[in-house]
């Protein structure tokens, strides 16, 4: 009570002293310097040069992986106390200038208060407000992006005006191998009360209205691709894989098959193929193969992802060229230019090799990809990839 009475008493005793207060001078300076106090909200400008800003506190980070998937992480950064790595996470001391910070990360669905962080690391913020966050390992459970991912991720961040930071991410995915991270971007917004939602976030610096230090891709730009240029004439059909070592025999393939392929990056891909085959009566007459490709999770009655018609060789070999196909995979939608070269093993099995490329969500050459297919009953569980035919028996 005594302290609350102070302002009144001070007002009485300094009635003629002056009307301005030290706080007024402080605020005026920030105004002249085009700055804004932290406790009055973030600044709105986006053109300030990179500079150190205190990034301690809690953040909601969105990262846009090169795969095209977004992940959301909660990040808490606190200044070290007396000794390196010594941090009071509850109090979360602010930084007084450039220097080391301790960092913890959680999935956005987790509680920062009760759940163990998925990453704990240390970073050093320089005088220009830049810092490198290394998440090694970063483990994402399967339900986050459709498969379990283990990676070493390096996020090169820069602090932005208005109380945010952002940048580009690189690194290496150790499991499953082959997934590129270069080209991934991220942005983090201060979220002291964990009230922000995914819709509030941006995934790159431009989404925050600032330039990325390393020219991050724009929010609406296509992810980087190694797939090479495409033309208005459409993708070029790749050379046919050589199935000369595979024994193929004419058989009626009419029916439903589960096709299982192991993509070069180690990811299994399963599709449901509905086929209708027809041969001429002569033993050496070629045939026709009509097909429809469904997602493996599709139910009878669902529309096909793509349909095709191709020819069958007298010994049951065929090639299916699917330029610009959009398939549903465990990675989500896949845009690809796929050439399937198949050989009929018997009336219940066929196999082969793929060529072409995946364009989205990640650039991926399919050359050398093997596949196998076996009959199954739509609407019933497909055999898991590990138990399914995934290649021709005679394939090397």
């Amino acid at each position: 009570m005594t302290r609350s009475a102070l302002p009144l008493l001070l007002a009485l005793t300094t009635a003629l002293a002056c009307g301005r207060t030290p706080r007024d001078d402080y605020d005026d300076y920030l105004s002249r310097a085009d700055r804004q106090a932290l406790d009055t909200g973030p600044a709105a400008d986006g053109a300030s040069p990179p500079a150190w800003r205190d990034v301690t506190g809690s953040w909601l980070l969105q990262a846009k992986l090169a795969l095209g998937n977004s992940i959301w992480l909660r990040v808490r950064m606190c200044a070290e106390r007396a000794a390196p790595t010594q941090v009071d996470w509850d109090r979360c001391d602010p930084a007084l200038g450039p220097g080391p910070l301790m960092v913890r990360m959680w999935l956005d669905r987790q509680s920062m208060a009760t759940d163990a962080p998925i990453v704990e690391t240390r970073t050093e913020v320089d005088a220009q407000g830049r810092f490198l966050l290394v998440a090694d390992p970063l483990r994402l459970p399967k339900e986050i992006i459709g498969f379990e991912l283990v990676a070493r991720v390096e996020m090169q961040a820069t602090t932005a005006p208005g109380g945010a930071w952002c940048g580009d991410a690189t690194g290496e995915v150790t499991s499953p191998p082959g997934i590129p991270l270069d080209g991934s971007t991220f942005a983090a917004l201060r979220d002291p009360d964990q009230t922000l939602t995914r819709e509030d976030t941006a995934w790159d610096c431009r989404g925050l209205g600032v330039d990325s230090p390393d020219a991050a891709p724009t929010a609406d730009a296509a992810p980087p691709s190694d797939a090479g240029p495409t033309t208005d004439a459409g993708p070029t059909r790749p050379e046919s894989p050589d199935l000369g070592t595979v024994t193929s025999a004419r058989a009626d393939l009419t029916g439903h098959y589960v096709l299982t392929a192991n993509l070069p990056i180690g990811l299994p891909l399963q599709l449901w193929l509905s086929l209708v085959s027809a041969y001429g009566e002569a033993p050496d007459a070629p045939g026709t193969l009509n097909g429809a490709v469904h997602a493996i999770t599709a139910a009878p009655g669902d529309a096909a992802l793509v349909t095709f018609t191709t020819s069958l060789s007298p010994d049951g070999r065929f090639e299916v060229w699917l330029p610009g196909a959009t398939l549903q995979s465990t990675l989500g939608p896949v845009e690809a230019d796929i050439l399937l070269a198949g050989a009929t093993l018997d009336a219940d099995h066929f196999c082969g090799q793929a060529a072409g490329q995946v364009v989205r969500p990640l650039p991926l050459m399919l050359d050398g990809t093997l596949f196998g297919a076996q009959r199954f009953v739509p609407g019933q569980p497909a055999p898991p990839p590990a138990e399914a035919l995934t290649a021709c028996p005679s394939s090397p």
């Binding site: 005793t13 003629l16 002293a17 002056c18 402080y26 300076y29 085009d34």
Partner: protein
């Protein structure tokens, strides 16, 4: 830091920086016997009958600081924003109130008094520099901004005094517990490395601001002895008084708002230990005749307690601001006199000298006071047997000071001038 900027009305009545205690004007000393005895000497509250005192003090301060570029390593291209003459001028009004009552018990008198007053305060708002270069946003606050831009320090006190007197011997004693409410608000320019650099090596703005707002509550006391020497012992009227004022060390706790360079401003909980000087006062009232009384007084303030001020973050004691003080004890002496020219009118006058506590090397535009002299004149009019009105005008002139050995960071070498004037008005009922 913080304490740093307490200047404007930071007046010294006697030898204590920031001392605003001038209750009852030129009669304010250890032999004061009015209602404000609860501050000057609680022993004197033991006077039969009621007493009341209302005090108003108007004060004016004008000071300058010329920050000499060459003495502070200010480069020529930054001289326009980091050197030159700064000026502060301010007015203030300080009230105080006291009342009491005393009773006679045979050979003894006893009394009690209560009151509210400001023993210490300083408000300084240095002039802006509207002509400063626009490309240096900090320059508008003047070249003294590295020590202070504006500060407000207030220590308000509420006191209840008890006193007793043995009338035959004239000996009396008293004690006044005091509740102090302290508050400090101050802002200054600041860089991370305590320099006065405007930009860093990459050309990014480096100057920032530090604002500290804080308060504290603490208890102290004033103990006093007084001897009104009986006529049987001395035919010349003589009263002696001595007081020991214990002021607690304030632990000003509050919020620091900091904006370094282009970094995002932030705030944090912080505290500033602010030791205040205990003070010994002694005085006398010697009646040279029925009309003329001399009132010599002496004061010693233990300002050596103020060595180095460090404001720290409450979270981890990180230093936010370090100010060298290295004060020495302060001394002051006064010789005042009264001449009763009529039955109702008394003229007052006097002068004195203060040995200030601030050494040259730690002098800066904020909390710093060197040696000073004082001259004063006033009058007291008895409106009737119980009511008197008095006024006084006090000129307090600090010696100009040239500092070339500053240890402050950044250095505050330069030339300082400071003078203050006080006009007191007191209504006394007894």
């Amino acid at each position: 830091m913080v304490g740093a900027a307490l200047s404007l009305t930071a007046a010294t009545a006697l030898a204590s920086p920031l001392n605003l205690a001038r209750m009852d004007g030129l009669r304010g000393d250890p032999v004061h016997d009015g209602a404000f005895a609860l501050y000057w000497n609680p022993a004197a509250v033991a006077r039969p009958g009621p007493s009341f005192g209302l005090h108003l003090q108007g004060l004016h301060r004008e000071a300058t600081y010329d920050r000499v570029a060459a003495w502070n390593d200010v480069s020529p291209d930054e001289a326009a924003v980091n050197a030159g003459r700064a000026h502060v001028r301010g007015l203030g009004v300080v009230p105080a109130l006291a009342f009491g009552h005393g009773w006679a018990f045979g050979e003894f008198d006893a009394g009690v008094a209560a009151g509210w007053y400001l023993p210490l305060a300083g408000v300084a708002n240095w002039d802006k520099a509207p002509g400063a270069p626009a490309d240096a946003p900090g320059a508008y606050d003047g070249p003294q901004r590295w020590a202070t831009i504006q500060s407000r320090l207030m220590v308000q006190s509420a006191s209840l005094a008890l006193g007793g007197r043995h009338r035959p011997t004239g000996l009396s004693m008293g004690l006044a517990p005091v509740l102090h409410l302290g508050s400090l608000s101050t802002v200054r320019a600041r860089t991370v490395d305590r320099t006065d650099d405007l930009v860093d090596i990459e050309g990014n703005p480096k100057e920032g601001r530090l604002l500290f707002e804080s308060s504290d509550v603490a208890f102290g006391y004033i103990a006093g002895l007084r001897w009104d020497i009986p006529p049987a012992l001395l035919s010349t009227p003589l009263s002696l008084g001595v007081t020991w004022q214990v002021v607690p060390d304030l632990m000003l706790d509050g919020t620091a708002r900091i904006a370094y360079g282009t970094a995002e401003p932030f705030k944090l909980s912080a505290r500033l230990p602010f030791p205040l000087a205990d003070t010994l006062r002694a005085g006398a009232a010697l009646g040279l005749s029925q009309r003329v009384t001399l009132r010599p007084s002496f004061e010693w303030a233990r300002w050596s307690v103020l060595g180095r001020q460090v404001a720290v973050a409450n979270a981890d004691d990180t230093p936010l601001l370090e100010i060298e003080r290295d004060f020495s004890d302060a001394f002051g002496a006064r010789l005042r006199g009264e001449v009763r020219v009529t039955d109702t009118v008394t003229l007052l006058g006097g002068g004195g000298w203060d040995f200030g506590p601030t050494p040259s090397r730690t002098h800066e535009p904020g909390l710093a006071e060197g040696d000073a002299w004082e001259a004063a004149a006033g009058a007291r009019v008895a409106l009737n047997e119980r009511v008197a009105l008095s006024t006084s005008l006090i000129w307090h002139q600090f010696l100009d000071r040239t500092v070339r050995d500053s240890v402050q960071q950044p250095t505050m070498n330069g030339v300082y001038t400071d003078h203050r004037r006080y006009l007191t008005l007191d209504l006394e009922v007894h």
